[in-house]
Every structure is written in structure tokens, then in C-alpha cells.
């Protein structure tokens, strides 16, 4: 049992600051716990009410007549030290302090007081303050205070996501719920006064449900500790990071947000490079990289074959492939000859390999299998425009079958409305990643190539 397991697998939870008041954090928190699928004992704590949401409430955590694994603290900032002391007396395993109003607004006295309590009592681990807490998609545990009627939660998956920013993290949880990939666990850790990014990376390195770690960070607290654990982790599984405050002008904003001591841009870029962390620059990249790294085998090189039934789509994609420092692969003479023979004259055997508008699933299959066989090709990027009369649903099943046996990365790009979106979902459910925009596909392949290179250089 890991020390941080109490945050993800508690058997009993105290919600301190639980409330009946509409739109309050204390009400949203408790409702989210009540909707948890897992059989968890939940104890509302509020000294002013006998019941909260119809359930017996306790005046303090100490008055709960049972063991408490996890405490969720959502009380005014100035009450946090007292509540935290009570949690420690109660021997609570972990406490998540949701409350804000500390270092992020320059509140030094309260911050120092909490710091002192934490360092004197290492037996009770603390996440926060100024955070949203955790979500575990395998048991439904949800310590966030989002209104569940206004959001969805991710399905089970192999990507863990940790976020220094709570609101952003939860919005992304919501967005991920509409995608085909899933999450293992989510942690919003805010001001990181005890449990920090290094502890979390260390935890996920050993978490059996996690294959890729995605992170949003604004600053790293302990550089050396982070360097060591991040590098060790990258040698076992990919880490993708989006760093907020990458410009001189935005740098300062991180201090007032999560009280981070954000280092210079160059320091972070060097840190990421040396530890093998793949850097993302926008939200769309962060999760496109993560799902690609989770799903695809590591390529042997950076040579990409683009297959398409739309010439312009192929060219736009090729521009993105080249623009992201990837190479357009060629066929060896033998394979080129074979393909020329197999295809009608309108098909130019080149890269992009434009199968032209009347390409059917058979022509695609020939092209893809040739690409998988060809030694000069490392990665296949298959573009499909589903609106042409010659293409039908059959290609979805065939792609899924081919992908199962493929030893090279094989990704799809397509764009459209309902019919195309449905095909995309079928492909993703079958294990084939689909992108809508060529730029995102190319950047994701670059992330995969970079990580493969890091692993090759450090095996």
C-alpha cells in the first residue's frame, strides 16, 4: 500500500464544511460524494447543523465515531489551521484542503501556520490548499466541487492527469468525458504545501492503472527532487507537460495563482528536455500527445507515409509533417513498382500517396499493408475523407483489424460532421486514434518520435 493511496481509495471520508446552501462549494462537494458508485462512508461535518442534505452531520471531525481515511476541508481560510489540527488528532490518513486564501493572495501568516502543522505531522499527508482535489475513474471517487449536472466525468483509461490549476483541470475532465480516451486518476494539487508534483509523479510511476502521465504545472517546487523522479519515470512511461507562464509577461501571473516560484522559460525547457518530458504548448496538444503516447508503439525513426483520398488534404498534412521536423518517407523501388502496378494510372505513387477520390477500402488496404511492410517507413498517417461515394463503413473494421497486428504507429486524420464523427468514434473505440486537424496529428507524431528517441538514447 502506497502512502498516497488514502487519497484515491479511502473507505471513509469526512467532508468538513459540508453545507445545505444552494450553489455553495460545501453542498456541491457532498453531492459529488453521495453520487460516488463505491461504497464509501461519508460523514458531513458542520457545527451549525444537525443534518446536511438529509444526512446526520457531526460538529467536528473528532466527534465522528469511526475511523476516517480522508478529510475534505472546505472551510474559510482562517479556520483551516484548527480543522487541520483536529484531523491530525483524529489520525486521518490524508486531508485535501479545498479552501483558498493563502500564498496565492499573499497571505503569509496563515500560510506559515499551516506549513508548521504539516512539517510537524508527516503522518497526515495534505493536498492543497487552493485546489479541487482528486478524481479516480476506477471507483468514481470525486472530491471536486464542480456541479455534476453541468459536467461529465472521464471513462476509465490509462492516462493520469495532474493539474496545479483546479478549475482548468476540472474543465478538462469535463472535456475528456466527451472523448473516446479515458483517465486513470486526476489530481488538482493547488499550492502544493505538502504533496507536490514530485510526490505525484513518483506515485504514478508505480500506479498500475497508469501508462502515461499528463500534467499542467505552473512551477516546480523542489527542482532536484523533481528532476530525479521525472527522469526515472520517463524511462518507464511518458510524461507530457504543459507549463503555464512560459513568457516573461505571463510569468508573474503564476505567483498570484498558485503561489509558484516559476523559473525562467529556458530553465524549464532544459528541465523537460533532460528528463525526457514531452512539452505541450496548448490544451489540445497536451491530451493529443498523451493519447498518442498511450496507444501507439514507439517508432524506429521519423519517416512518415501519408495516405489519402483527398489530394489537398494530403498536401496540407505533408506541410505540417515537414513543418514539425518529421520526414516524408519514400518507398523502395520494389514496393513502388508493385504499387504502380496495383493502382490505376490516376494514382501517383509518391508521398503523400494520393489514392484519389474513387479510392475504396481495398485500395486503402493495399496501400497501408505496403506501408507497414516497407522498411523505409516508420509511421503511417492515414487520411480518409468519408464523403466520397467509393468509401463506406467497411474501411473502419478493416483498419481496426490491420491496427491490431501493426507494429508501426498508424494514425488516422479525418474531418466532417455526423457520419464522419460516428466513423471516428468507431475507429477510436477499436483502438485507432483519429485526429481532425493535420497540425495536431503532426505535432502528436513528433511527440511520439521525440519520446522514442529519448528512450533509445537512455535504454
Amino acid at each position: 500500500m502506497e502512502e498516497l493511496d488514502c487519497f484515491f481509495y479511502p473507505e471513509s471520508v469526512a467532508v468538513i464544511g459540508a453545507s445545505n446552501q444552494p450553489k455553495s462549494i460545501g453542498k456541491a462537494l457532498l453531492e459529488n460524494f453521495f453520487s460516488t458508485r463505491l461504497a464509501i462512508k461519508v460523514f458531513p461535518v458542520n457545527p451549525n447543523h444537525a443534518t446536511i442534505l438529509g444526512k446526520k452531520a457531526f460538529p467536528s471531525v473528532k466527534s465522528i465515531p469511526a475511523k476516517v481515511d480522508l478529510a475534505i476541508v472546505a472551510v474559510p481560510a482562517k479556520a483551516v489551521p484548527m480543522v487541520l489540527r483536529e484531523c491530525i488528532e483524529k489520525k486521518v490518513g490524508g486531508a485535501i484542503i479545498i479552501s483558498a486564501g493563502f500564498a496565492e493572495i499573499g497571505e503569509k501568516k496563515l500560510t506559515a501556520e499551516i506549513q508548521k502543522i504539516i512539517s510537524k505531522n508527516p503522518g497526515t499527508r495534505v493536498i492543497g490548499p487552493n485546489c479541487f482535489g482528486v478524481y479516480n475513474s476506477f471507483n468514481g471517487l470525486n472530491s471536486t466541487f464542480s456541479e455534476s449536472r453541468k459536467m461529465g466525468y472521464p471513462k476509465k483509461g490509462k492516462v493520469a492527469f495532474i493539474s496545479q490549476s483546479g478549475a482548468l483541470g476540472v474543465a478538462l475532465l469535463d472535456w475528456i468525458s466527451s472523448q473516446e480516451f479515458g483517465l486513470s486518476k486526476f489530481v488538482s494539487y493547488g499550492n502544493a504545501m505538502d504533496v507536490d508534483e514530485s510526490d505525484l509523479v513518483e506515485y504514478f510511476k508505480r500506479d498500475k492503472q497508469t501508462k502515461v502521465l499528463a500534467m499542467y504545472i505552473e512551477g516546480v517546487k523542489k527542482g532536484r527532487k523533481f528532476f530525479k523522479v521525472a527522469r526515472e519515470t520517463s524511462l518507464r512511461m511518458p510524461i507530457v507537460a504543459l507549463k503555464g507562464g512560459m513568457n516573461k509577461e505571463t510569468h508573474n501571473a503564476t505567483a498570484s495563482h498558485t503561489g509558484s516560484l516559476a523559473g525562467s522559460v529556458e530553465v524549464y525547457e532544459a528541465l523537460f528536455r533532460q528528463t525526457g518530458i514531452i512539452q505541450a504548448y496548448d490544451l489540445i496538444d497536451l491530451f493529443s500527445f498523451a493519447k498518442t503516447l498511450e496507444n501507439e508503439p514507439l517508432p524506429k525513426g521519423n519517416r512518415v507515409l501519408i495516405i489519402t483520398n483527398g489530394g489537398g488534404y494530403g498536401i496540407v498534412t505533408a506541410d505540417q509533417v515537414v513543418g514539425n521536423c518529421l520526414k516524408l518517407a519514400g518507398f523502395s523501388r520494389g514496393n513502388e513498382k508493385l504499387l504502380r502496378k496495383a493502382f490505376p494510372r490516376t494514382v501517383t505513387v509518391s508521398n503523400p500517396l494520393d489514392l484519389v477520390g474513387d479510392a475504396d477500402d481495398k485500395r486503402y488496404k493495399q496501400a497501408i499493408l505496403a506501408g507497414l511492410r516497407e522498411k523505409k517507413i516508420d509511421i503511417l498517417l492515414v487520411l480518409i475523407l468519408f464523403n466520397t461515394p467509393a468509401i463506406d463503413k467497411k474501411i473502419v473494421k478493416e483498419l481496426i483489424e490491420i491496427k491490431k497486428k501493426a507494429k508501426k504507429p498508424l494514425l488516422v486524420v479525418t474531418i466532417g460532421s455526423e457520419y464522419t464523427i460516428e466513423r471516428s468514434r468507431e475507429l477510436e473505440r477499436g483502438g485507432v486514434i483519429v485526429f481532425k486537424y493535420p497540425s495536431v496529428a503532426a505535432k502528436s507524431i513528433k511527440a511520439l518520435v521525440d519520446y522514442a528517441e529519448f528512450r533509445r538514447q537512455n535504454h
Copy 2:
């Protein structure tokens, strides 16, 4: 009446090469015409069948006992010269040659023959060959051969879209149908043997239903002609262009695709800059720029205020704003003081202006109105995370009302699943543009700022 009007407003159409054969282009073409809402006379032409899809067919265009405004030609390449001659004898106003197999596969003889016919007969204008033709969202005219059961068509709107690539163009039509913005007209013009990009730009410059022109081009045929008409047009309305083949390696692919003589990257970048064309580098940019330019007033400068209820979201967005050569605006002392007074202590009056997680619509309204008043701010970028308990639907109506009166660009960024998507759609229907990704929002604002600058320098 404009010369090219026959392509968009025909009263009678001959579909030459109409077919009963499932999955054929000739069948898809005819079906799309039959589903047209407008009262257009449609004549199937096929020498081998008396009826096509249950309708009387004619052996040739000449045998049609009525005037023909527009001919759609979908016959094998080698039959195209004969068919084109017949169209000219019939005095057809315009012909769209869908058929492929010309310059794009190095077929010189047929290409030369068609070129000769076209130059001798300027009375019949020709779009294509190797194209998908036109779509007019105002009357439903659709000469493409996409299978309509597999795609949607854009609603009416003010963006015209011309594409050298047919399949890509149609896939984008389909995608646009799922978006809240609409199109006026679409043209896929392929090898451009007669009607070329310059003719089309000239046409849309005068088209009353078009306020922005979006284009996908692989090469420009007549540089001088294009320069002149593009510059004239840019002085009246924005043109956004995505150029395929922007790298040395991808450059050649455009020749085999649409037979383009693609100039060097530098030549095109200079051409775009000098003519005021806003350049896009990926599909997502092309239409994000177009819808922004269509919807927003021109800003006076590049100073952006970011308002948010999620600190991390604000910081990621600020990174993108700065990274795209825009400035983070500040407040003048008076306004800063007022805001400090109006907001709780947890709000730091800065940029991003983080209204923090408990911000409600009232706090947003105060911040936005202050931003609109402030002389040091040119553009407002409003980030909303809808999952927090304090935010509700009210903010949608209020934003729409504020936007109606606002004289500065005001754009929204939000991300989530169902609840958030529904709010986004409401906002867009109400005239407020919404982005999902900070990078796309920032690039779109940059496009707006660049176009405003071009207009200022050339008024």
C-alpha cells in the same frame, strides 16, 4: 448580372454522365440535384439509357429541347472535348468539368485540346476540370458528387469558400455544417483551365452575400492579375488563405494534384503580405480566422484583456496571446482602483484578470464593462469555465446583450462537454464567437489585428 452567375443561379442544368450505377459519381451528382430545394430544371444526359433514376434521359446536351444554363460534365476524360464542344454549340452559359485525368496526371494532349476549345469560345465559361464544382447555400444548388446521406451542408452565412482541392473542400463543407457559422457560396475549381482564383476573387468582391473570402490554394495561375484583384478585394473585405505546398518537400505534390505551378514559399508569403491576405497554416485556422473577421469590429490596436474564472486557463491563454505577438493590456489607475473596490480580496486586478472560482455573472459583467470602457484595451477575451457552482446560464444572455453594443472585439473561450457545448452554441447563435482552445483564439485575434492594420495603412 455577373458573368459567373450562371454557376450559382442556373434555371436549368444538364448533368452529362448521369448514371444509375450505385456508388458512381454520375448517380451521386444527379441525386444531389434532385434534392435541391430550388425549382431548377434538371436534364440527365446519357446516350445509353432512356431514363436515369426514373427521369427521362437525353442522349446528348444538344438533344435537350430547352435552354441550358449550366452543364455538369462527368464523363471519362477522353470524351470531355466532344462534350464540351456540344455544350458550346448548345450555348450553355457555363460548364463544370468534374472529370479528372488531365494536367494533374501529366496528360498533355487532352489538356491542350480543351485549352484550345476554351480559348476559342469565351462565351461559355468553364470551371475545372478535376473539381467538385459549386454549392450555393442560399438556394441549395449543389453540383458536388458527395453522397448526401454521408454529409451535411453549411447553413446560410457570410463567408465564401473557394478551394482548389475538391475532396478537401467538400469535407470542410461537411465539417462547417456542424458549426454555428455559415457559408454564402463554395467553389471547388480544380485545374482552373478557364475560371481561376482571380476570377473567383473578383466575383466574390462584388457578391452581396459575402463578407469574408476563405480560400485553399495550391498555386496562383496569373500572378499579376491575382495581385491586383486580391489587393482591391482586401481593401473592401478580408481574404484568408491556406496555401498547400509551403515546404520544399511538399511543393512538388501540388503539381500532381491540380497541375499547379506553385511558386516558392517566400514568393507566396510576400504576395499575401502585400495584398493584405491573411495567411492560415491549418484548416482550423482558416475558418477560425474567417469567422472572427466576419463577426468582429476591427480593433484599434493589439492590446488584449483576458478575463477568467480559472487562473490556469488564463495563464495558458496569456502565453498564447503573448506568443502570437499580441500585448497584454493594462488598466489605467482610475479603472484599476474601481475594480479593486468592486471585487473581493481574492481577485487580483491584473491581466489575466482572474475573477476566481466563485465568480458569478455579476462579477463578469463588471469586469467586461470596465474592459470595454478602458482606453488602454483594444480586445476582450473572456474565458468561462461553466462547471463551477457560481456560474449559471444567465451569463449567456448577458454576454449576448453586451456584445450587441460593444464596439471592441469580444470573444469567448471555454471548454467542456454537453453543458458547456450547449452554452457555446447559444453564445454563437447570439453573435458571440466561442473558441475551445486558447491557441486558436489567440491566432484568430492576431489575424483580426493584422487585417485591421492593413486597412489602417491603406485607407
